[in-house]
Amino acid sequence: MSDDIVSDIKRDYIVNLAKQGQRYDGRAFDEYRPISIETGLISRAEGSARVRIGDTEVVVGVKMAPGEPYPDTPASGVMTTSAELVPIASPDFETGPPRPASIELARVVDRGIRETDTIDLEKLCIKPGEKVWMSFIDIHVVDYDGNLFDAASLGAMAALLSAKVPYARFELGADQPMPINHYPVSTTAIKLGPALVFDPGLMEDKVGRPRLTVAHDEHNAIRAMQKGLIGGFTLEEVKEIIATSKVKAREMREQLVKVTGREADARNTKPGH
């Protein structure tokens, strides 16, 4: 039997379970697997985090160095996000140049930080028009057991929140914490037959479609969305996912700010416009 037919059989199994209100690992539809967040693992990085959602594991490192600003934003720091789906994490990941799946992952995490104004890039200016902080967020997926988008986003946020801007290393003064404006958190759901299932595990990730990732900030505003994979949602389904996402994001944000010691900061942000 070809792989394609096998995957059709798997799909039927998972979808049938969902029709009966069940998931293959016994969770409720809106239930996340245990989440663990560790920071400071990589001493050579300005910030780092290891995030596990179930058996999915990502390591994220933030490196910073002074560099030249873009001509059209002379007083703003620069940030870049990359993701590598290294072949250690799954038999399906291959060596070679980044493929669409990892490009989408990196770009969604990137926009979830950049477009939500999460980092205060203006505070990362050293000398306008000449020198600003360049931040590189590198996402390293080391074990893939489903739901990369949430693990990667959470990992990136944890690494950023724990990062020190390395003024001292470049002889520019004393180190400072990364300037943070907002605390967006992403949650992802997929459609399995009639069900909307959060934090898809590996089997669900492989057969479920479509997928919707939603990021909310600490004021419960919607800050980013990305629908992916083949298939469509009704408007009602989208709204249902957004509503549940708001609740889940709040829980995850609490864990995030606690682990990184950013609780006080997170309570005092101004609403975005």
Partner: protein, 256 residues
């Protein structure tokens, strides 16, 4: 990015820089069947966006291990010409165009009756000749017409448009300055026949209420666009019929 001082995206009468109301589309024209070699094609102008979509297939899949034994795969390549933007773009795919290509392929897949053509590929090429905000929506709309023009069996068309927020107002179909200096961007695509949402992205800031308004604007506009798509296809078949009548003698003439 913050707008330069003095730039007002919405005036005191609620009109936008180009005089449009918040829920008004830019001018859109489309023409089906513009290419000879492609199996189906569509040329679309949308504001200053200029897009050609071309479809080849169903055809053999290379490399072979990309084949799906149970259905056709829909592959999309979204590509901006080097001269489509203010600063020349280097030829070849960048990360942005690779992400968009993936999303467009995924948005078109559900409408194609893929089970009819196992082991084949349907290739959709979207060439952006000129870009002015909203190219992914324009490409998707044109691609859908090109698929129909190619005679690919479909359960419906896909129509697409972006909504957004500028100066704290929800608006439809952002033009360039609105995209650059606005607060929020929400590209949407639906299958008008079923209402299913097949493309949805958002960046910026929306309350739940703003999101609802933006979706309503988008969905209404997609139905409008769907009308234009059908019209473009109708005109092509009309032209074809007229041409046929003119090249072949009518039956009655033969009988004379």
């Amino acid at each position: 990015m913050k707008p330069p001082p003095g730039l007002k995206l919405i005036d005191e009468n609620g009109r936008r820089m180009d005089g449009r109301r918040p829920d008004e589309l830019r001018k859109i024209t489309m023409k089906a069947g513009v290419l000879k070699r492609a199996d189906g094609s569509c040329y679309l102008e949308w504001g200053n966006n200029k897009v050609i979509a071309g479809v080849y297939g169903p055809r053999e899949v290379h490399p072979r291990h990309d084949q799906d034994a149970t259905q056709a795969i829909v592959r999309c390549r979204y590509s901006m010409s080097p001269f489509s933007v203010d600063d020349r773009k280097r030829p070849g795919p960048d990360r942005r165009s690779q992400e968009i290509s993936k999303l467009l392929g995924e948005a078109l897949s559900p409408v194609v009756l893929r089970q009819m053509f196992p082991r084949t590929a349907i290739d959709v090429f979207c060439e952006i000749l000129e870009a002015e905000a909203g190219t992914r929506c324009a490409a998707l709309t044109a691609a859908s017409v090109a698929l129909a023009d190619a005679g690919i069996p479909m359960k419906g068309m896909v129509a697409s448009v972006a909504a957004g927020k500028i100066d704290n107002t929800v608006v439809l179909d952002l033009r360039k300055e609105e995209d650059n200096f606005g607060d929020t961007d929400l590209p949407v695509a639906i299958i008008p026949k079923t209402g299913e949402i097949v493309l949805l992205q958002m960046d910026g800031h929306f309350t739940d209420d703003e999101f609802d308004v933006a979706m309503q604007y988008s969905i209404d506009a997609c139905h409008q666009i769907h009308g234009m798509q059908k019209q473009a296809l109708r005109e092509k078949y009309l032209d074809a019929a007229v041409e046929k009548r003119m090249s072949e003698p009518a039956e009655s003439e033969v009988m004379l």
